[in-house]
Symmetry: C2
Subunit: 393 residues, 2 copies
């Protein structure tokens, strides 16, 4: 434990429902006379989440506090409180850049690991909504716009180099990055104790562990995650990090934010939409359409920013933009493949697949996921358009 | 000016020959009774360099102090004093990693921008020695060993990921990186006021400025320099940053150190050896042999480190190491091409070329340099061995 962490622990204390109300009052977020109700609505694994509601007018805020440990599938390990600051700093930057798609932060305190922000309880987590059978027709275009703005405007194309480098330093995030490095790029490809898969998949899993061609490509993708400081990523952009309604899309929880390859965020979105297409064949066309709209919107908006707000003198060079967009597609496809595999046999699963009640169907869906995952990783450099990807599935 | 810079300026003061002696005494680097002589031996462009000698026993140290500005070809601009800390921190790390090839640092002070270090006055700057007609038979193997160690042991393969990320933050170096970004990757490819070339080269220069294929590849190399955080680079590894004798090689002046693509340091070495081969055709075979020995030594030592000290579980994957070494070669060739061009038509030149007395010969050598530079950049991905590169020249 560093000295800083020790000092932090002396003042850090988990909030309770009543001290959360005291904090909200102290911050003057409500009128002095307000009668406030506080409810802890987090899942308790990583963070406390209090919803504070003014009983009179139903105005509300969220107070989120990081816990000094993580609990995933029963396991518990210490985890830096600094992630609360990474998250609130990233939310503020993303809110500036893409205001329609990010909740507002009212207050943040590094020592207490607290972020006070806009209450989005009128929305639903996209993964949950999809599983319930809903569709969110604007979701894909919104995510395309969000990522075009965040990934361009935090890159060396959208920022002066010195400002970008300052942000790289601010968002050095070793502990959260290590979770991704281990759980997405390493453990699923070895017989690691963190892995978690159904015994019926043992044959496929063994194939993965012995697939040198696959592991070589995963090694390259992991190296890209470790070294390519292209832009400030959300870092964990699955459908559980997105609040939606028919009209609105809000991207939350950027505690994994760091400067990495833009294909990573793009690929997480594609993979987490694909889980829905794989789990429900009758939704396939709707989901494929989402993926296509997501990509084409991203490209269109990124191109517009490239042409209007570019800081790079070499940006006008013939072929440069199209090369970068094609590279982003190939990278995204590869990273999507890693996400498909790790959510099937690694530590953290998705309800899209695990929630399939029929055993045969579920195992079949997982086999399909693993097979597509492998194809995307190994053949990613053969794809030159999103349509080509979709028609290959 | 930031607050920190303001505070720094209040205590920072340039040393004189006599205050340099006082500092050496205060640091107990000599006996109390020592009679010390102090001589300023720097070129005064970026730094003060004092050589402090004990008159009795000839023991000596160097005191180097950064100046708050840079002067290049008459132009002067303010330049961060923080570069002294980057330099002393990098020297300490490189000394730990490659002790035979790095001077020892005895003392460093961030506020005064001072580094006190081993005196290497018994050696000569490699560029100067080469121009004088000397050869340094061990230089290339030494540089191969030095870079194998520094580039492997500061990468994600040689370090735990958290330690590497901490160092990335420590070596964020925007002002010095910007000099490289502008003077190597940008200005020479546009009609920029910093460019400096002989009028006889105007036709070739215009061709470069209008060569979209070349500029596209330069854009990719610049992006790599801006975003690929592979390892802690020296960042300015030309033959003017190397002290040599027949037996010894010491790499100095890492004030441009930052985490970047390993091909950059490798390519600087290759390009700065090539200037000698181009300037003196009778030395060509000797220099080509140096380049070959440099590369094969680098590969051999890097492979040994890869196999014995690797932190990456995926490192054993078939084909991964050979892919990375081939990528390093292609990158190095591309970066070498940029160095060849910028030293011929950009702001900062090399004495190897500018020192050729005969006008026709000099212009011819510069034309050759530009032509080789272009070939290396545009065709870098076709090279799979150092021998193939050398036989193409």
């Amino acid at each position: 434990m560093t000295l800083q962490q020790k000092q932090q622990q002396q003042t850090y204390e988990p909030l309770t429902e009543s001290t959360a109300i005291e904090l909200a009052k102290k911050l003057n977020l409500f009128s002095d006379q307000a009668v406030l109700q506080s409810t802890e609505i987090g899942d308790g694994n990583l963070n406390l989440v209090f919803r504070i509601v003014d009983q009179e007018n139903n105005q509300s805020v969220i107070i989120k506090q990081a816990l000094p440990y993580a609990k995933v599938v029963g396991e518990s390990w210490p985890l830096t409180l600094k992630r609360a600051t990474i998250e609130s700093d990233a939310l503020k930057i993303f809110k500036d850049i893409a205001p329609d798609f990010v909740p507002e932060v009212y207050f943040a305190d590094e020592e207490l690991a607290i972020t006070v922000m806009e209450d989005l309880s009128h929305l639903i987590i996209a993964r949950t909504g999809f599983i319930q059978g809903n569709d969110y027709p604007l979701l894909s275009a919104h995510l395309g716009k969000y990522l075009a703005r965040t990934l361009f405007l935090t890159s060396d194309f959208g920022l002066k180099p010195a400002k970008k480098k300052e942000l790289v330093g601010q968002f050095i995030n070793p502990e959260l990055c290590k979770i991704t490095e281990d759980l997405i790029f390493t453990d699923p490809f070895f017989d690691a104790p963190t892995n978690n898969f159904e015994q019926e998949l043992l044959k496929e899993v063994n194939q993965i562990w012995n697939d040198q061609q696959l592991k070589f490509q995963v090694a390259l993708l992991k190296k890209s995650f470790l070294t390519d400081s292209e832009a400030l990523l959300h870092g964990d952009l699955h459908t559980g990090s997105i609040f939606v309604s028919e009209e609105e899309t809000k991207v939350i929880d950027p505690e994994f934010a760091y400067f990495g390859p833009i294909g990573f965020d793009l690929g997480q979105v594609i993979a987490n939409l694909l889980f829905q297409a794989i789990a429900n064949s009758e939704k396939r066309e709707v989901i494929y359409n989402h993926i296509e709209v997501f990509w084409t919107t991203f490209v269109k908006d990124y191109e517009a920013l490239w042409n209007s707000q570019n800081e790079e003198p070499l940006a006008t060079t013939e072929g440069y933009l199209s090369f970068l967009l094609e590279k982003a597609l190939k990278d995204a496809i590869g990273f999507a493949g890693c996400e498909l595999i790790r959510r099937t046999i690694g530590l953290a699963h998705v309800a899209d697949l695990d929630g399939i009640q029929d055993d045969t169907e579920r195992i079949e869906a997982k086999r399909t996921t693993l097979s597509i995952g492998r194809e995307l990783i190994v053949n990613r450099n053969q794809f030159t358009s999103i349509q080509q990807l979709l028609s290959s599935l």
